[in-house]
Amino acid sequence: MSAVILAADDIQVAQNIGFGIIAAIMVIGALKVVTSKNVVHAALSLVLVLSGAAAQYILLGAEFVAVSQILVYVGAVMVLFLFGVMLTRAKLGKETDLDQPKAWLGVPVALLMLGVLAWVLIDGFQDERLPADATSKAAVEISDSVLGPALVPFLALTFVLVAAVIGGIVLARKD
């Protein structure tokens, strides 16, 4: 399948190779996230995946999202995760109790989904190319979009964040 993915043609060899390397890192990292016996290792693998995603965004010309990804995900969310891990489990070493007894159930389901998705995508997009001169999206464009047509979802998001802050405090408060 990697032959299909990397059906690199004459142009943009560098990007394709870059994509391949990052993608490989991401997939391996993701597999580590879901299989690792060590919670901290899993969290660090997740960092790898998220950083890889940021790199892919840059490849796709979405620098602003990439920077947000690094700031929010790798910076903030991961710290939250590590805190969560440490506050709930003092143990940093291996644990045997991370998986369900019926973990194997996930394999057929995931493979089935992957099969369907891969089929649909390969069938649907064939070898459609991204525009070669994909210019990066300026932050000003995004801000115009966020504060223009997408203003209502944006406001909704702000409400969600406020609710999350309040909810987090209420839930985690000791009394």
Binding site: K102, P108, L112, V152
Partner: protein
Amino acid sequence: MLAHETAASAGWFLDNAFLIPVIPAVAFAVIILFGKRLPMKGSEVGIVSMVGALVLAVGTTYQWIQRVDAVHGGEGEHAVARGVYGFARGLLPQAAEGGEPYVEPVIRSWVWWQSGGLEFGLGQHIDGLAVMLLLLVTFISTLVQIFSLEYVRGDRRYTHFFASLTLFSAGMLAMVLAENTVQLILGWEIMGLCSFLLIGHWWEEQANSRAALKAFFTVRVGDMGLLVGVAILFGAFGTFSIQETSRIAMDPATSQTVLLWAAIALFIACIGKSGQFPLHTWLPDAMAGPTPVSSLLHSSTMVVAGVFLVARLYPVFYNGFDIAQNGNSLNFIAVIGGITIVIAAGLAFVQNDIKKVLAYSTVSQLGYMMMGLGVGAWTPAVFHIFTHAFFKCALFLCAGSISHTASHHSFDMKKDMGGLLKRMPITSGVWMVSTLALCGVPFFSGFFSKDEIIDNAEHNGYPIFFVIGLIGAFMTTAYMTRATYLTFFGSPRGAAAGEHHHDEAHAEEHELGLATVGHDAPADAHAHADHTAHAAHGHDAHGAHDAHDAHGAHHAKPAFGIAGESPILIAAPIAILGVLAVVSGYINAAPFHIEKFLEWVEPRASEFAPAIDHATFAWSKAMPSIVLVVLGFVVSLAISRSVFGDAPSKLKGLTERNAVLGAGHRFLVNKYYLDALYENVVVKAVAYPIAQAAYWVNQRVLDGVVNAAGAGGRRTGEWLYKYVDQGAIDGLAVNGSGKAARGTGGALRPLQSGKVNQYGALLFGAAAVGALVLVIANI
């Protein structure tokens, strides 16, 4: 000659009528944020805001009347109707050719938010209907808030009460001057929320919180109709604007099917909100709220919202149901309205709770309004909103006054009232006047509106509804006579006679010296220990005799003494309403050829409004209803005297002796078994099988799949042991009350056993399979 009309302004008040709901909305925020710190706990903010809104509404009314007179004063001044009105969107309709010119409403609109190219506006659509309701709502709200000052004094959620009351008025006002259907939904839903808060104001008592939930859910059932109806209208017409919608609905080219479906959906919303049959069951239960709330909700605001919606989007209903087609059509609105009149009036006969009599009376009168709209009598129906608001609000406040002062917070007419006529002169006087108005006795306000509806029903070719209207008039008089007799005549009973229900309990409390001010547990909230402070007026509903307060200082009455008239803050609003219950009818008194209301409120036939035909009044036509009213009075009085009077009578206990009458009585007492129908049949027939089916699927199919995949009988055996034996038996053991768990929730219980991952697997697996099926189907 009317050049000033074409200027950019229609008058300051008309242009800025949108401020009317804004004032109470701001006041609501102020009360919520700072109310508790203010000297009067926020009530002053509420009242000031309502007075401010009232002043603006009066100004608006004045300028609207000027505007109408300016147009109609100069016949043929078509130019007037083309006036440019401020920030209107440039809709400049033509006046209808011939007939009286159309008075252009004052429309302003601002973009509230936009999404995906759709703009949602907020604005104002000021026409006669809106002006009338603005005035009505602000006026009644002001009086009710003044009344509440005294009535809920010392309540533990005093500030919240006024906050909800103010927001409630804001919601109604916002809906009344809605420029588009989205704003209409906004106001509608604000009212729904506030009615929930207010009805459940004393939620500590189970019955009250149940009533609040019932009101909320029942109305929600109807609200689905509103959303669907607005969506249909928007989908078909591409606009939210009420004026545009009306114009398109009036357009002969518009598909009648679309209008019909939109009208049905919208009318379902009105059924829920306005307590029409079969969703009227929430309204009497809503009496669990404090009396000022009942009087506000059930006279001028909440429940007339549905009537308002029909009147506002009348072209949709008019053409959708083809109301113009005289008499040949039994249209939905008129049928529902007619059924409601009779059904609700029947129920009013068997109520012992004075507020419930009034509640059913409200339902019945709303039936009149709906029926009026259904038979094409737009103006009489809207006029009935106007007159009904005054006398019904007066009646509710009288009930509150009696309970507050004379009967120890009881509303039971049979147990705790009687003989109050001389003791409470203002209250009883206003009650009498309002009752006469409600019954439609000539020269009181109800006569001018109700009789017009009945008259027009015949005039427009709906003879069936003419008869129903007459039957309703008869029944109205009869049940009101019964209620009046029980309340004011005969000998005082129960609390009205000075008895108190829990004297022993109080004695104990006194001995123990318990200061239970603000205590909320129903059984022991007797705040007697502190006579200077007012106790929680916690529970004035449903035979709750607790929280009886000592009206110490300013009542100048002994704590258990026989009550006199209520204090001024209660009596004054009642008196004002009592006067209005008489005079409000004279705005449009057909017998005296006064038709000001018609002139000011009714939209003239144009591309926005259908032509409304009016019956001409004649005393001869009014005679049947007058005769029936008198007959109802005589019959009911005779029966009431013999049944409830002190003298022995054969009629006493008749329902116990006569099987047929007894069955009828039981049928009425059980509210036609509608509640039982909803709770037992509908809920069981719908929810229970679903729960059962879900249980079955879960047990047999889903788990079966999991296990078959896992393979082997041993596993099945293990599974059975683990889930059925341990799960079920453990569950029973833990519950202790396992017997009761076979209900809906119990059947759904196994669905939520908490096996998150298994359900995740099933969910994703099913999604994948579903996607696969879709893909294959689309190849």
